[in-house]
């Protein structure tokens, strides 16, 4: 399968924008997570971001916090998530991106962790509590292992930091659209447009915008402002959290295709 950079490049050549859904692994259980990944992959997703549930998710709002708590209560472990991913990735069109806080990586050891990602067919990695200053060792080893580490830019990042982050980030630049944690918002901050422009001025790497994007209108707005992709998390996690398995998957499928249509 292609790398994130390559996949983004081919989308660009076809004048396509990327839809990047996020779901929390293990909520309500890993079987349904696997089903949801298949549904998203078939339903218009271009990349899929898979969240590893964590006990202290500092960057997450109530929806993803609650999903993580439920997933951990189910006994979801990193090993079981990667085993599930490994069984899927061969047949997926969309590269998988793992989203995890840093402590589980440190606990396993960076090298072993990266080997396991490669074995599972995971292509990218987002670590929300690892700013560029602390990421040196992970970035170096990930480059060697062929895992693309996507770094985050926020509305509070000064220009110098944006340059450093854009330089070190692989795959794309993850622009956080809000000064805040993940979670659905009623509107998006207009300042996002300026940050997109600012990132554009320092790099040709693709820009994916996430946090707080919860409706097709938001997604459209972000694309109109010049982003290459949108990341939608809590709104998917919320849809997976309620109802029968059938209803959950149908809600995910419908929302995914609605988003994809809107940004195409």
């Amino acid at each position: 399968m292609t790398t994130i950079s390559q996949h983004f490049e081919s989308l660009r050549q076809n004048n396509q924008r990327a839809l990047i859904p996020f779901i929390t692994a293990g909520d309500p259980d890993l079987d349904l997570t696997a089903e949801a990944i298949r549904v998203l992959d078939a339903g218009g997703a271009d990349f899929i971001e898979l969240g590893v549930p964590y006990s202290d998710p500092l960057a997450d709002g109530p929806v993803i916090q609650a999903a993580a708590t439920r997933a951990l209560q189910q006994g979801t472990s990193l090993a079981s998530i990667l085993a599930m991913a490994q069984s899927l990735t061969r047949n997926l069109r969309s590269p998988l991106i793992l989203f995890t806080y840093y402590n589980p990586i440190l606990n396993l050891g960076i090298k072993i962790f990266l080997q396991q990602l490669v074995a599972a067919g995971i292509k990218g990695l987002v670590v929300p509590d690892l700013p560029v200053e602390e990421a040196g060792e992970l970035l170096q080893q990930a480059d060697a292992a062929g895992i693309e580490v996507i770094l985050l830019v926020t509305p509070t990042s000064p220009k110098q930091r944006i340059e450093a982050i854009a330089d070190r980030s692989r795959g794309f630049i993850y622009l956080v659209s809000v000064t805040g944690v993940t979670g659905m918002r009623s509107q998006i901050q207009t300042g996002v447009k300026d940050v997109i422009t600012e990132i554009r001025s320092v790099t040709n790497k693709p820009i994916g915008v996430g946090f707080g994007i919860s409706t097709p209108e938001h997604a459209r707005q972000i694309i109109d402002w010049g982003a290459d992709g949108v990341i939608v998390g809590s709104a998917f996690v919320q849809r997976l959290a309620e109802g029968t398995p059938y209803h959950r998957l149908r809600a995910v499928r419908d929302f995914c295709s609605e988003l994809k249509t809107t940004i195409s």
Binding site: S55, D56, G61, N103, L106, N107, E134, T156, P158
Partner: protein, 415 residues
Amino acid sequence: MLVDTQSIQLSNPSLSQQPDSLGRFGQFGGKYVPETLMAALSELETALAKYRNEPLFQQQIQELLRNYVGRPTPLYYAERLSQYYARPDGTGPQIYLKREDLNHTGAHKINNALGQVLLAKRMGKQRIIAETGAGQHGVATATVCARFGLECVIYMGIHDMERQALNVFRMRLMGAEVRPVEAGTGTLKDATSEAIRDWVTNVETTHYILGSVAGPHPYPMMVRDFQAIIGQETRAQSQEQWGGLPDILLACVGGGSNAMGLFHDFINQPSVRLIGVEAAGEGVDTAKHAATLTKGRVGVLHGAMSYVLQDEEGQIVEAHSVSAGLDYPGVGPEHSYLQVSERAEYYSVTDQQALAAFQLLSQLEGIIPALETSHAIAYLETLCPQLTGSPRIIICCSGRGDKDVQTVAKFLNAS
């Protein structure tokens, strides 16, 4: 006795142990936070560097420490406690208490809250947030916010709100909003996570007054430096009372701010033994304890690399202690460094041992210590029989125990 705090503050700058530019003490510390906070941490570092040695800032803080907080706090010779641990021939350790419990608001926490609120004022922040476990840091923060007319929001676990109800009332009385945190076990870890989320969201208008020597750089260094007045006074008072240094410093460690405050001025004084006492809860071999340095492994929690209580998956586990202020699965990074470099020693005592010490100090000295402080006192049971001669032990009496009387009463009735 009057100690000139101003001259102490400026003495021996070469003794300071400073973290490197990334905020590391050896491998510990750093800044493991969402990108959103990085600019605010830089802003804080800049402000700290600018004001820490500015005469006007120093003058204001010294004046408030003296006239508002009530410093210097006494170094008190605990005569009957010393007699209690004396050998049959009458010799034995000489035990002193550094009376941080006599500070305004009843604990050492005000030293740091005051310093940080003055910094926040200079940085133009109008809104203050803080986490609290026992409520002492929350009360200290609410106090300085009332004093300076700033909006104040305190995050506190629901379990802690119940066992520290008196402090919840005090915070609200002084105009703070106390926000209950239901996540996890509803204790200090969860309150800290929620405070960090608030800061991520409101970082442009808000200063986060973190209460311990934990969190991302520059917090461990900054909080230590605001608490270092404890050790600086102790040094001057030791000189004045017996013309020398203490032999052993003893303090409880949750995050570890009172211990760092006491230790800091003596780090480069190898003759002085530094001992930190953690909470063993129901025992370090049970699942219910908070003995991070004894039983934890290196990890990242709340922005810093340090020892952390975690499971085999790297998930942070819930701590347990009868004392809400020690009920925390992390510890300040400098303590991890002091342990690894063998400059300081760390031990633990159980809930039961702390409860016994709580009563012992009340009965022998007429001083009701906080349950946190009681852990340090309880370690005398182990320490004193190991000592020869008459070494001088100084215990940081970090807080008073009024807030704990209901908790203790419940335990005494149950047993």
